[in-house]
């Protein structure tokens, strides 16, 4: 365990050093992934002026602003990173290293999250200033603890799902379509663009049992007090089952893939 943590820490530092070579270029990350949710926030605020929604205007604003933070924290790039390496034949160099490549992926992912959180601070600060009076989050210690735990749950669920999908590149020889399909389902079912509470019943039912919910919606609902205690407990239970299931499936498929894997030119 200690060895894994040291490896992960090393790769976090490597990733930070790599990304901060060109610090000015990080300016593009200020709005990365933020425009679409904020646009939807404006739309729903206009709609709420004409219709009785299940969320108040304060909850809508609080929801969309916290999702900007949650989306950055749970984001994962493994489908592209690992898929690209498999596709280009570079993956073999990962296999001969004296550690499992998943440790490197953990370090790389955590490093990228840290780098992308820094440019988000100015945007969140501006939004907090503008919507100061409308923000309402649960600030008791219990809710904060549950929120942090749900973020960790979301990080793990997304990480293992992304790495599981990346393994399919061994058979498909292609990762872009996997990534796009993942992102498409995520946009619908994670609550990134539409809060689950505002979805039609059918979509909401599917979203509530899907793993994508843990990427954004589950932590956001805890933060703004939408989730009941029963929903929180069942949510954590389902999330842990997803983590274990994805990890078991990932181990099985990776073993099967490596049995038939060949690479050229490296």
């Amino acid at each position: 365990m200690h060895k894994h943590l040291r490896l992960i820490y090393f790769f976090v530092k490597t990733e930070l050093a790599s990304h901060t070579q060109y610090r000015l270029g990080m300016v593009t990350w200020i709005i990365n992934g933020a425009i679409a949710p904020l646009l939807m926030m404006f739309i729903w605020l206009v709609v709420s002026g004409n219709a009785a929604l299940t969320l108040s205007q304060s909850q809508i604003i609080s929801y969309y602003i916290i999702t900007l933070l949650i989306a950055r924290i749970t984001q994962c790039w493994s489908i592209e990173d690992v898929g690209k390496e498999i596709r280009r034949g570079n993956f073999s160099s990962r296999l001969i290293k004296p550690y499992h490549y998943i440790d490197e992926e953990w370090g790389s992912t955590l490093g990228k999250k840290i780098v992308r959180l820094i440019p988000l601070i100015p945007l969140l600060s501006v939004l907090a200033l503008i919507f100061n009076r409308s923000l309402s989050y649960r600030t008791d210690s219990e809710s904060i603890l549950l929120f942090l735990l749900s973020l960790i749950l979301g990080i793990f669920v997304r990480f293992y799902l992304s790495n599981l999908l990346a393994v399919f590149t061994f058979w498909l020889n292609e990762y872009h379509s996997l990534e796009f399909l993942h992102n498409s389902f995520m946009e619908i079912f994670s609550g990134h663009l539409l809060p689950l509470a505002l979805m039609p019943v059918v979509l909401r039912t599917v979203a509530e049992v899907s793993p994508f919910r843990f990427f954004i919606s589950f932590p956001a609902e805890i933060a703004i007090g939408l989730a009941s205690p029963e929903a929180i407990v069942s949510g954590f239970g389902v999330g842990i089952i997803y983590i274990l299931g994805f990890r078991i499936l990932y181990n099985y498929l990776l073993t099967a893939a490596l049995k038939k894997f060949t690479a050229y030119g490296q």
């Binding site: 070579q21 060109y22 990350w29 872009h176 379509s177 619908i188 663009l193 039609p200």
Partner: protein, 260 residues
Amino acid sequence: MRYLRLIICLMRYHFLRILEFRTEVVSWWIVNLMWPILALLSTNIIFGQVNSVAGWTKNEVLLVVCLQEIFIGVIWIFAIPSLIDFAKLIPKGDFDQLLLKPVNLRFLITFNKFEFDQYPRIFIMAYITSKILMGFGVVNMINIILGVVIFFIGVILFYNLYFIISTTTFWFTKLHNLEDFFADIMNFGRYPVYIFNNGLRFLLTYVIPAAFMSTFPAQAFLGRLNILYLILGIFVCVVSFIFSQWFWNFALKRYSSASS
């Protein structure tokens, strides 16, 4: 004529290149349809709650959404792939090779790459747009022509904007995630700019010209566009092109290669 032949040659080269990976192209065609489906789905969900948003009915908003999707498809044919490729050349040190070519450099950077993934998206959304327009009644050819002109004014405006942003690579050296940055900016045009307050509406009309992307073309198709916006659009097109060219020359004079 020479440059037109070059464009055709480059398009043919990239088309032949993608024919080598036919399965990948077809999978991209399918995948690129997911985003318009998402946009139409979320619009339908919104209009499950209300009959209008900021005075725009469901079909009018769907028209804006479809035009935005067509816009994304069109600008992804050459502008964005070429500019993203250009932004990658400078940190790699490969930009110097382009400087030596006997072709206008801006032309080469703009038409360097063509993507053919977006054609199904464009055709399907154009079909849906035509169905929506026919649902509004008699189609006026003058309005159609006006809408198409305003639409391509938007394409040129966004091309100039993206070109200016890509030119900053000379100073920033590496612009992270440029592809997502361009896509984020285009999200502004997903819904009519009239849902925003006056300040944001001004920003999205005169600074980031998202209104020219889909709102103004939609208004033109519906015969509701103030002709002043057409004149404004042409004026801003010319001014932005001149400014982008000046900025490009300014940046080139200060460029020093890291390696050749």
